[in-house]
Amino acid sequence: MEETKKMICISCPQGCSLDVKVDGSIILKVDGASCKQGADYAEHEITDPRRMIASTVRVKNGFHPLVPVYTKMPIPKNMIIDVLTELRKVELTAPVELGTIVIKNVFGTGIDVITSRDMPTQ
């Protein structure tokens, strides 16, 4: 069944408004993109929408009680809540180095959640 979905591309700050003609999950046409990335984004957003996320996890004996973490690659959008719930359970112990893997291969995506800074002890 043919329909047109509207979306805004987030690949770069320009934020082109896209009109995406789809038949089920097959992309027929993408209008409104200023560059190739628009079509790529539309494709992903229809079939496999993903986002980079950032949050924090608790640290014991740290200079601060939390250390920020993030996903280096975008993870499936529908996984975000579950990932955040998992992160809430984590407690690291200081000192923690930047790039420490907090959750490896989160939910089998092959993507790690890592710390975005060092966190020394108190």
């Binding site: 805004i8 934020g15 986002r51 924090t56 993030y70 975000i80 800074r117």
Partner: protein, 425 residues
């Protein structure tokens, strides 16, 4: 680390502007570079911006704020930049004297051959946009809330309305949602989004947080803690549209209504400010109206991409270093002249060594007491006699002179200072 009295370059603030300026200054050849930071660690505002979007231009990577900061912090340490943390700069004079204080060292006075101002900006407050209503707890600027949520580890509310569709507001909408807070509404007084469209998608659309353009907060309700805000639509003249009022229950109002370059210290230093930007007038070296005082980052004007802050700060730091090096060279060309035995004063009080390569320099002095017998007028570099002249007598009423000749250059060149004394023969 022992604090020096004089630094080549002093950088005020260690956000992206300050970090890049300090690193660039060191790389350009400034010997002593100091960062003074009021917070307990380096990184400035980047430390609480835990979302990505930093470094796409400079590093070709999409990094979170703290990681971006850490790249430069690494260089700061490896290059030997000195740092003063938890230290507040209280005053800067146009002569580049800096007064600061902290718990450990107390009150410090530092001279700088050049300064880079990198104090960033502050957030516009409720009073500045004059939101009427009560003054309960629960009205915060987005940045203050961000600090609590991301760094200190506390949630400032559980049901939030955000005023302002700037990036900080939208980012906080997502951040709060991630931490289990209900973001009821984002209100924007303009007829358009003031932040990036991509943030609208990732922060509001993704979480079904409604955005109302041409809306603002008419008043705040609640005596001790926020209980609700009254939202209202506005027309093209910013007037509330009667009948469009809506009471939105909430316990927190987050303000993301604008950033103002923080130029208190710039004012004290006599730096001319551009009334349109709120920041200093700068040239393409990012030097302000006061020679030797440079400025970089949000303190000059508000940027939207941190990569451009870094680029500007590199330039400011480089030029600040160049300026400091020139001054250092000039200082090292000067030799102070000290009045020794029987000499009341000497003019000039210091000489530029380089001039001695070209021509003689005449030193003039007066004595305090008459010596009615033959004397030597002697110029010493410590024990080393550099020049001498005989006089039959010396009297206070008659000026005494001695000339340094070009042949004295090799002696004078290595002297830290010269002492002129008058000794009876």
């Amino acid at each position: 680390m022992l604090l020096k009295n004089v630094y080549d370059v002093v950088v005020i603030g260690s956000g992206p502007g300050g970090l890049a300026a300090a690193v660039a200054a060191k790389k350009e050849g400034a010997e002593d570079v100091l960062i003074i930071e009021r917070d307990v660690e380096l990184g400035g505002i980047l430390l609480q911006c835990i979302h990505n979007g930093f470094g796409v231009e400079i590093f070709k990577e999409d990094l979170p704020g703290p990681s971006y900061a850490q790249r430069f912090i690494k260089d700061v340490f490896s290059l030997g930049v000195e740092i003063l943390l938890d230290t507040m700069v209280l005053d800067i004079t146009p002569q580049r004297k800096i007064y600061a204080s902290n718990k450990r060292l107390g009150f410090v006075e530092i001279e700088a051959r050049s300064i880079v101002l990198a104090m960033g900006c502050r957030e516009k407050t409720r009073a500045q946009i004059r939101i009427p209503g009560t003054r309960p707890a629960g009205v915060f600027t987005a940045g203050t809330a961000q600090r609590w949520v991301n760094v200190e580890g506390y949630m400032p509310g559980k049901q939030v309305v955000i005023l302002g569709s700037g990036d900080i507001g939208m980012i906080m909408a997502r951040r709060l949602t991630f931490e289990g807070v209900k973001v009821e509404r984002v209100l924007e007084v303009m007829p358009y989004l003031t932040g990036l469209t991509r943030n609208y998608v990732q922060c509001l659309l993704d979480f079904d947080i409604p955005l109302q353009l041409r809306h603002t907060v008419k008043r705040i309700l609640g005596n001790d803690r926020v209980e609700a805000v009254e939202a209202v639509q506005v027309d093209e003249k910013w007037n509330p549209v009667p009948g469009s009022e809506e009471i939105i229950p909430c316990d927190t109002l987050l303000l993301s209504v604008g950033l103002i370059p923080e130029n208190e210290l710039s004012r004290k230093a006599g730096v001319k400010l551009d009334p349109v930007t709120g920041g200093p007038f700068v040239d393409d070296n990012f030097q302000t109206s006061v020679p030797g005082i440079f400025a970089a980052g949000n303190v000059v004007h508000v940027y939207d991409l941190v990569d451009w802050v870094t680029e500007a700060a590199f330039q400011a730091g480089k030029c600040a270093a160049k300026h400091a090096i020139i001054i250092r060279r000039k200082e090292s060309n000067y030799v102070p002249l000290i009045a020794g035995d029987n000499v009341r004063y000497i003019v000039p009080q210091m000489l530029d060594k380089r001039n001695l390569e070209e021509h003689e320099i005449r030193l003039q002095m007066r004595v305090a007491q008459p010596i009615e017998q033959p004397v030597w007028v002697e110029v010493h570099d410590k024990e080393n006699l550099v020049a001498r002249k005989g006089e039959r007598y010396v009297r206070p009423g008659e000026m005494v002179t001695v000339n340094l000749k070009q042949k004295n250059f090799t002696d004078v060149e290595k002297a830290e200072n010269l002492t002129i004394s008058i000794i009876p023969r």
